[in-house]
Each structure stands twice: as structure tokens, then as C-alpha cells.
Symmetry: C2
Subunit: 209 residues, 2 copies
């Protein structure tokens, strides 16, 4: 276990915790006090680290993604599990909110077939309530632009799974890819904002009509 810790930079106490929580499969017991860990354990530990530190998931959400990979799920269910993991707060359980009329309208206009009670829907209701409470009408006026961009992202997400042959590869890519793509998109949006801000400043100021 100390070698596993050294190979991944994850402290021994944390490795033990992941074993207890079932996020990491047990090693092969070689002595009463020793177990053998292999490259699958190293990969799994690195994955847990990426999910918690880069994708900022809480442990319950990480468990959902891991269960999707380990369970013999069909790919659509694995995608659903990853989506639910992303919609879970990393901090706390959220109270249920009332459903947003603005979001209902967007879903209707785009013709989206979505579950009315999914965690993603609840996240959307909550996000729109926060934007409304903070008095940001400009954001909601552009919601169709954001929805169109979201569709482009979703198409690229599904395209990235094309041609994967083995079910195992497909489920891994669906579950992990969906989660790790989020911080990538976040970063790209921030960089594009920097660029667009500089561009508009040169063209006469950010608030210019």
C-alpha cells in the first residue's frame, strides 16, 4: 500500500479511506498483513483524484461514476449516471425548487425530450432562480444562445463516443468523459471570454450597442 501511495501521490490514509468506501477494489491478499496492488489500482486512484480535484466532484458523485464503470451498465445508463453525478452538488443536498417557467419554455422551443424530474432539470431550475434573484435580465434574454451552445457541446460529447468498439471502453468514455469534459469547457469559456472582452474593448467598449 505504501508503494501504491508513492506511485500516485495519494496519502496512505486516503487510500485506506477509498478502500473502506468501496471506491477502490481490494488488493490481492498475499499475507495476513499485506496485499498486492497492480496497475488497475494505480489507474483507479488517478481517476478518483481527477474526479475530485479537477472535476470537483464530491465523494457521493465519484461513487456514482465508479459504479457506472464497474457495473455492467448499458452505455445510456452510464451516461445518465455521469450526468446525475455532475448535477449533484459537491457541497450539500439542495432543497427542491419550484420548476422554472423560463426553462419549460426553452425545453419546449428546442424540442428537447428530457425527464421532468432529473437532477439536471433541478439544477436548471435552481440556476435560473438564482439569475432571476440577482436581477440579471440580460442573461435570461440570451438563454436561447446558451441553449444552442449547449446543444453543440452535447453533440460533440456524443460524437466523441463514436466508433468505440468494446462496451467497456464505451462505458468508460461515456462516464468519465462526460465528467472530465466539464472543467475543459469551463476553461475554454473563460479563455474565450478573455479574448472577446479584449476585442470589444478595442471596438468601442464592452457596453456599446
Amino acid at each position: 500500500m505504501s508503494e501504491l501511495s508513492a506511485a500516485t501521490g495519494v496519502p496512505v490514509a486516503t487510500v485506506k479511506f477509498y478502500l473502506r468506501e468501496g471506491l477502490l477494489p481490494p488488493g490481492e491478499r498475499t499475507h495476513p498483513n499485506q496485499a498486492r496492488y497492480d496497475s488497475r489500482h494505480v489507474r483507479r486512484l488517478r481517476l478518483i483524484r481527477a474526479l475530485t480535484e479537477v472535476a470537483d466532484l464530491g465523494l457521493a458523485a465519484v461513487a456514482k461514476v465508479i459504479a457506472a464503470i464497474d457495473g455492467d451498465l448499458p452505455v445510456q445508463a452510464a451516461l445518465g449516471a455521469a450526468q446525475d453525478a455532475l448535477a449533484m452538488s459537491s457541497r450539500q443536498e439542495r432543497p427542491s425548487e419550484t420548476s422554472s417557467a423560463v426553462l419549460d419554455e426553452v425545453i419546449r422551443r428546442r424540442g428537447w425530450e428530457v425527464l421532468p424530474a432529473s437532477p439536471a432539470r433541478r439544477l436548471g431550475d435552481e440556476a435560473i432562480a438564482a439569475v432571476e434573484a440577482a436581477d440579471l435580465p440580460g442573461v435570461l434574454e440570451r438563454i436561447d444562445d446558451y441553449a444552442a451552445a449547449a446543444e453543440a457541446v452535447a453533440r460533440a460529447d456524443l460524437d466523441s463516443l463514436r466508433g468505440l468498439q468494446h462496451d467497456e471502453d464505451l462505458v468508460h468514455a461515456a462516464a468519465v468523459g462526460t465528467v472530465l469534459r466539464r472543467p475543459l469547457l469551463d476553461a475554454l469559456v473563460l479563455l474565450a471570454q478573455q479574448h472577446e472582452t479584449n476585442r470589444r474593448e478595442r471596438l468601442g467598449g464592452i457596453a456599446a450597442e
Copy 2:
């Protein structure tokens, strides 16, 4: 203070904590042991709650956004502060990573003018390193699709500031809008994924070429 707590649902101990941290301005002292709080305090508390609970920011990142609103910053600087707040981990300081060649290439191809040392750039380097380590080549093959969607989001973000007349409104919309738009986009992407997954399943399966 107990009325302020009742009006916002934020516990008194938390209100005291925000006062000590300077996130909430002090009330007007009416007696040695009493202070008057007004509607600005209620609004500010609701904003802090939205930033921590909906946008999932850590307290250091919330302080950055609040400082942008309270400080007499030009709008470009307020936007930059909000972007840096979003790029900060809500969990911990990240070690510096090596710069990603894949991200360099995207930035060059799109002609983005961005700071080489910004938190957004570091976030991007880290996200790409995690995608590479998790063996998800499909995601990086579509990085230009994600970058194009990110540009559309950035344009909508800047469009949402158009025509705001007062500097104060503009700075508030730039700083708060940038932060609260993120969970909205996250939710829209998850809903669009649900729809796109259902659509492709009907058309012959998710992995079909």
C-alpha cells in the same frame, strides 16, 4: 441581526462570520449592542448564498467577486475578477501544471488573445492533463467543437452586458452574471445531452458511426 437572519434563512452565526470576513458590510450602529440592517444587507446575503450554493464558489472566490462589485473597478477588471474567481478551485490551491501543447494549439488556431499566466489558462492545462491521463482521445479530437461552443457562450455573455447605462449596473452584471451563468450553462448542457442521447439511441445506438 435576527431579523436579517429570518429574512434570508442564513443562520445568525453565518451572518456574523460574513461580517467578520468583510463579505457583508456592517450595519448602522443604533445601540452599543444593536445595529440596523437594511435591504442592501438582505440583497448581499442572498448574493453570497447564490455564489456559494448555486455557483459552488469557495469563500475566497466569493470575496473576489464581492470586491469587484464594491471596488470602483472598470468593467473589464470586474469581468477579469469574476473569471479568476471561477477558475479558483472551490477546494484547494492547485499545484502549477506544465502548459499543455494541445491548448497552445487551440489558442493559436482560434486566434485567441489571452494571458499566458491567467488562472483560466492553468485550469485549461489541468483539465487537458486529466483528459489525457484518463485516456479519452475522443474528447481531445473534438476540442475545436468545444472551443467554437465556448466562443458562442462568451459572445452571449458579453452581449448580455450591452446597453447597461450605469457603471454600477454594468460591473454587477459583469461580475455576478459571469459567475451565475456557469451553473445555468452546466444544466443546459446536461439537458441537451439527455435529449441527444435519446435521439441517437433511436437512430441506431450511441456508438454508431
